[in-house]
C-alpha cells in the first residue's frame, strides 16, 4: 500500500502550515497555489485508491470473472475421475499473473 508521504511533490520540503510562509505571500497569490496543491493531492489520492482497489480485488477484471465462470471441465472430470492434465494449473497461474 503506497504511503501518502511518497506521493507528496518533492518541492514541498518546508512545512506548508508554518507561520513564516503565511507572511511572505499576498492574499490573492496565496489562494492559487493552495487550489493547485489541492487538485494535485486529490489526483494522487484517486490514483492510490484505484491501485488499492486493483490489489485487493486480485486484478479481476470482468473478463477474468467471465473466465472463472466458463472453466470447462476436462473429459476426465466429466467422466468421474481425477483431473489428468495441467491446463487448470495454467489458468490458476494466469489469474495470479493477472494480479
Amino acid at each position: 500500500m503506497a504511503s501518502s508521504e511518497s506521493l507528496l511533490p518533492v518541492s514541498s520540503q518546508q512545512d506548508p502550515l508554518s507561520d513564516s510562509r503565511c507572511d511572505s505571500i499576498p492574499e490573492s497569490r496565496k489562494r492559487r497555489p493552495i487550489k493547485v496543491h489541492l487538485a494535485v493531492y486529490s489526483g494522487f489520492l484517486l490514483i492510490a485508491l484505484y491501485v488499492t482497489l486493483i490489489i485487493t480485488h486480485g486484478g479481476s477484471s470482468p473478463k477474468n470473472d467471465v473466465n472463472d465462470d466458463t472453466t470447462v471441465e476436462s473429459r476426465a472430470r466429466l467422466a468421474g475421475v481425477s483431473e489428468k492434465n495441467n491446463e487448470h494449473i495454467w489458468k490458476l497461474s494466469n489469474d495470479l499473473k493477472g494480479e
Partner: protein, 555 residues
C-alpha cells in the same frame, strides 16, 4: 506456448522407464508375478495422447525393467465398462489362481466393480481374460455417488476365512474407505462401519492397504497380520492429486484401522507422502518370487496437453520401488529402486570433492541424460559449530522446499547437491539438493528438495520446487540417490525416507549438451561430496516377440 519442435520433443522419451510406444497412459493396474513373469497392466488410451477410451494395456518382464508389450488384456466391450475399463487389483486365491477386480465406467458413466479372471491359467503370459457373466458384482451402495465408487484393492484373508476388500469414496468432504467381505468374489457383504475416514480430504481414489513388518525390511503377503505388523493405508487424493499414506494398526475383528499419529492421518496436507513430486495412483503388490513389496507410481506430465499431442505420448511409470517400514524410525516408509535397475549400469566414475561455499563444479563424465548417482555429503564440523554452537543464531522455523525460493536462495548450511540436466551456461538446470537448517532446541533439520523452476526456458510447463523434511539420525551422513532419464528425475533422500519425482523438459540441456554439476550454494559451510555416477543403458522396452519366450529369468 513454447515453440516445441520434434528434435526437442524426441529427446524427452525415456530410456529405462516404462512407457507405451505412443499415446496416453495413467494408473498402474493389477501388478503381479506369475509363472516366471512379472505382469504390469496399465490404464491406456489406444487412440490419443490424452485421457479417454481407456483399456487395460499389458506388459511382461523377467526383472521389472526389460518390459515387453503384449496385446491389451481387457477392452470396453460390455455395458458395464463401455466408457472405460478402469483401475483394479489382482488377488491370488488359496489354489494359486488369480482373480481381478476392476472398476467399469458403464454406458451411463456409473462406476461399478467387475470380476475377471485368466481364460487359460496355464498360460504364463495371461494373454486372455474372461469377464464374469454376472458382472457387475458391486454397485455404489446407498449414500455413495455413482461417480465416487472406484478402484477396488487386492483382497486379504480375514480370521474367519473370508476375503476382504476396500474401495475408496467420499461422503460430503470426508474421504472414506468402504469395506466388503466375500467368499467367492461374486457376492459381497458390505460392512456398516468403515475401515477408515478422514474429514476434509475429499474423494479417495486408488486406495492401497497392506501390512509391513516392524522388524524386517522384507515384504509381507497382503493377508499377513500380527503383533510385529503395521498396516499402511494409502489413498490418492482426487482434489490435490497427491498420494498420501499413514501408518497404523488394523483390527481384523471389526475391520477398522487406527492411525499411529492422527495429526498426520491419511490425506492431511502435512501428512506423509510416498513422493513429494509427481507421483499418483500408486499401487503395491507382494512379489512372492523375491519376498518383497513393490510400489508402482504413475508419473504424469508437467507440460501442456498440446505438447503431449504434438509429441504423441503422455506419461511414464516410476521405476518400481521396494517399499518397507523404516525399522530405524518406525515412523515412515522407505522406498528404493528395485535392485534389478543396476543391470543397466554401464561405465562408472567415482569422485571425492571438497566444495567451498558459493561454488559450482562441472562433473566430467560425458553424456548426462541417463545416469544413476549415489552420493554422500559431509558438512565441515567447524561450520556446523558456527551455526549450532551459537545460541544467537536463531532456528529457521519457516523453511520449506516449496516456498523458500529454490536452490538460488542461500542459507548458512545449504543448499548443496547436484544440478542435473544442465547446460554449460546453467541457463537450464534441475538442482536436487539438501538444505540444512537449525531446528528446535538447536537440532539439525534437513530438507531434501528438487527445484524445477529453471529446468526449462519453456513457459508452458509446470515448474515447482518439490521436497520435504527428511529424517536424519545421529551419526548418519547425508545421502542421496538420483536416477536421471531424459524428462524424468527421481531423487531418493536418506535411503528413500524422502523421495521426489520430477518431470522436466529442457530445450538446451539435451542430447550432447546435457551436463552434470555439483554445487554448494551455502554461505558458511564447506561440504565434502563422495559420489559414484553410472551411465545407464536403455531397457529396450519393445513389443513381445516369439523369441522372447526363451528370455532367461533374472535370477
Amino acid at each position: 506456448a513454447f515453440a516445441w519442435n520434434n528434435t526437442v520433443l524426441s529427446w524427452q522419451r525415456t530410456a529405462f522407464h516404462f512407457q507405451p510406444e505412443k499415446n496416453w497412459m495413467n494408473d498402474p493396474n493389477g501388478p503381479l508375478f506369475y509363472k516366471g513373469w512379472y505382469h504390469f497392466f496399465y490404464q491406456y488410451n489406444p487412440n490419443a495422447a490424452v485421457w479417454g477410451d481407456i483399456v487395460w494395456g499389458h506388459a511382461v518382464s523377467k526383472d521389472l525393467i526389460h518390459w515387453l508389450y503384449l496385446p491389451f488384456a481387457m477392452v470396453p466391450d460390455q455395458w458395464y465398462d463401455a466408457n472405460g475399463v478402469w483401475t483394479g487389483s489382482a488377488t491370488f486365491l488359496d489354489d494359486g489362481s488369480i482373480v481381478m477386480l476392476y472398476t467399469g465406467s458403464t454406458d451411463k458413466f456409473e462406476q461399478v466393480q467387475n470380476l475377471a479372471y485368466p481364460e487359460d491359467p496355464k498360460d504364463p503370459l495371461l494373454l486372455k481374460w474372461t469377464k464374469y457373466s454376472g458382472n457387475p458384482v458391486l454397485v455404489a451402495p446407498p449414500g455413495i455417488g455413482v461417480k465416487d465408487f472406484r478402484d477396488p484393492t487386492t483382497a486379504w484373508k480375514t480370521s474367519d476365512g473370508k476375503w476382504r476388500i476396500t474401495i475408496g469414496s467420499k461422503i460430503n468432504r470426508t474421504g472414506v474407505s468402504i469395506i466388503y467381505d466375500t467368499t467367492d468374489f461374486k457376492t459381497y457383504e458390505k460392512h456398516d462401519t468403515l475401515l477408515h475416514q478422514v474429514p476434509n480430504t475429499g474423494m479417495w481414489e486408488c486406495i492401497d492397504f497392506y501390512p509391513v513388518s516392524k522388524t524386517k525390511d522384507k515384504g509381507l503377503d497382503t493377508s499377513v497380520n500380527g503383533p510385529d505388523v503395521k498396516h499402511i493405508i494409502k489413498a490418492s487424493m482426487d482434489d490435490t492429486r497427491i498420494d498420501h499414506y499413514a501408518i497404523g494398526t488394523y483390527h481384523d475383528s471389526n475391520a477398522t484401522w487406527v492411525p499411529d499419529n492422527p495429526s498426520i492421518d491419511v490425506g492431511i496436507s502435512t501428512g506423509l507422502r510416498y513422493d513429494y513430486g509427481k507421483f499418483y495412483a500408486s499401487k503395491t503388490f507382494y512379489d512372492q518370487h523375491k519376498g518383497r513389496r513393490i510400489l508402482w507410481g504413475w508419473i504424469g506430465e508437467s507440460d501442456s496437453e498440446a505438447a503431449d499431442v504434438q509429441k504423441g505420448w503422455s506419461s511414464v511409470q516410476g521405476i518400481p520401488r521396494t517399499v518397507a517400514l523404516d525399522t530405524k524410525t518406525g515412523k515412515n516408509l522407505v522406498q528404493w529402486p528395485v535392485k534389478e535397475i543396476e543391470s543397466l549400469r554401464l561405465r562408472r566414475k567415482k569422485f571425492h570433492m571438497k566444495v567451498e561455499p558459493g561454488t559450482v563444479v562441472p562433473v566430467d563424465l560425458g553424456p548426462a541424460a541417463q545416469l544413476d548417482i549415489e552420493a554422500e555429503f559431509k558438512i565441515k564440523k567447524d561450520d556446523l559449530e558456527v551455526v549450532f554452537g551459537d545460541d544467537s543464531v536463531e532456528d529457521d522455523k519457516e523453511f520449506s522446499c516449496e516456498t523458500s525460493g529454490g536452490a538460488t536462495v542461500r542459507g548458512a548450511l545449504g543448499p548443496f547437491g547436484f544440478s542435473v540436466l544442465a547446460d554449460q551456461s546453467l541457463s537450464e538446470q534441475t538442482p536436487v539438493y539438501f538444505y540444512v537448517t537449525k531446528g528446535k532446541d538447536s537440532k539439525l533439520k534437513t530438507f531434501f528438495c528438487t527445484d524445477t523452476s529453471r529446468s526449462t526456458i519453456a513457459n508452458d510447463v509446470v515448474k515447482p520446487v518439490y521436497g520435504s523434511f527428511v529424517p536424519v539420525l545421529k551419526g548418519e551422513k547425508l545421502t542421496m540417490r538420483i536416477l536421471v532419464d531424459h524428462s524424468i528425475v527421481e531423487g531418493f533422500g536418506q535411503g528413500g525416507r524422502t523421495c521426489i519425482t520430477s518431470r522436466v523438459y529442457p530445450t538446451k540441456a539435451i542430447y550432447g549438451a546435457t551436463k552434470l554439476f555439483l554445487f554448494n550454494n551455502a554461505i558458511d559451510a564447506t561440504i565434502t561430496a563422495s559420489f559414484k555416477v553410472w551411465q545407464m543403458n536403455s531397457a529396450f522396452i519393445r513389443p513381445f516377440s516369439a523369441d522372447d519366450l526363451g528370455v532367461p529369468s533374472s535370477t
